[in-house]
Point group: C2
Chain length 260, copies 2
């Protein structure tokens, strides 16, 4: 980054390897004293100017026009807001919600699998949870779940009484853009057998009600047909509901351990 000095946004520090043999990360980005002295709207504005310049030069891609609060931990004090597309370039954590829409029928579990629209910017045409989405700034988790459930799947508000918060899933992975760090808040939504999801916002191509065992077979044999994190959410669902269990899965302890 060569834009630091004039915008006073970030200072880049390159640290050499320590002498005691511990390898440190080769570089880090810290906020400049000038940025720290500002209030949140000013910081957001200043960071936004830098991001816009990086974007104009093609150094930041996939702009979504969606501000994301940056804080040390989830929903602790907001330090500033930043365009969501920029997060991986700085390894900053993003948050999202995934809802497993499921049906019990004759003692067997079925889940609603969404096929993402072919027009989506990311993972177009791939399998996904019935409802999923990033968490925008200033929206609570439950508001976000309710909004997405209605828009994406036409869920009736009364059916949301069965919504249960069931845990979380955090991961980081390297992308072309940098380090993508995500935490997903997971929800189960048991639906009446009579329910059929209807997509209202054009983000879903179709929905299919599939036995969990068939979903796992699809993940095992055809993983590329799945949005990667949605496949992991499905596996977590199968562990939590006993479809993957220590009797059928030799590597159960390790599998279960890493699903959080």
């Amino acid at each position: 980054m060569q834009d630091n000095a004039d915008l006073g946004v970030f200072a880049v520090q390159l640290e050499s390897c320590a002498l005691d043999g511990w390898t440190q990360l080769p570089g880090s980005v810290t906020a400049s004293p000038e940025l720290l002295a500002m209030d949140v709207p000013e910081r957001t504005d200043r960071v936004g100017q830098l991001m816009a310049r990086l974007h104009a030069r093609g150094l930041v891609q996939g702009w979504r026009d969606e501000l994301h609060p940056i804080s040390q931990f989830f929903q602790t004090e907001t330090l500033f807001e930043m365009e969501r597309a920029c997060l991986p370039y700085f390894g900053l954590r993003g948050y999202g919600i995934h809802v497993n829409g499921y049906v019990r029928r004759d003692g067997q579990l079925f889940v609603w699998v969404a096929t993402r629209s072919h027009n989506k910017a990311t993972y177009a045409g791939l399998f996904d949870q019935m409802v999923a989405g990033g968490l925008p700034s200033g929206v609570s988790l439950i508001e976000n779940v309710a909004k997405e459930a209605v828009e994406e799947a036409g869920v009736d508000l009364a059916d949301l009484d069965n919504l249960t918060s069931v845990g979380s899933l955090s991961y980081r992975y390297e992308t072309r853009k940098g380090l993508s760090a995500k935490s997903l808040f997971l929800y189960d939504l048991e639906l009446p057998p009579s329910f059929t999801p209807i997509n209202l916002d054009g983000e879903v191509e179709e929905f299919n009600l599939v036995p969990v065992s068939a979903v796992l077979e699809s993940i095992a044999c055809n993983l590329r047909a799945w949005k990667p994190n949605s496949a992991v959410v499905m596996i977590e669902f199968a562990v939590r509901h006993g479809v993957i269990n220590p009797t059928c899965e030799p590597d159960y302890l390790r599998l279960s351990k890493y699903l959080r």
Copy 2:
């Protein structure tokens, strides 16, 4: 250990700190070539002789007369069997099952909390799951759950149809004896409101049906009344069933992450 040479069981290696600044564990125990050349019953016998000598000298305490299979991972090839009380002295992992017996009533969740018998060798008089126990050698998880559920809580075999494998919990902690490493296999058992557990093996003083919210309050205010790992299993249950959720728990992501 000075018994190695004559029994040919273990060789103790003390490794010095490496020069590159990485600290290694100060010591390790490896099997002697003589032990490795034996078959499983011979190895078990030879290790057993050494353990009996350590026990006779008071160096191993809490003998249970229960053999535990030692393998690299859960239920992979048994290398030898060892008295369960000896595991922490060598940091070897033990396995167990914990069953959350719960009841849904008017949309609220209640769990059956056991008070451990005052005569138990460990954690006497403390709160525990309705059913819990170590996994003995040669018994499958489901056999163990069924056996303990009948003996400890008088569960009807028909009610076991509602048993669900829901995940695992692995941890290690330092004890006076050494390093205790445990993996618990977790199960939920939804029970009819008419069910009342009856203890048949003298290991439980009494059972109480308690709202999950009150259980959490007890853990928060009176943690010493709980068997430690059973309190963690209760917290995991509350996360999985949405009683602890991201709206009520500011540190939800970290809490959820470490519960596996």
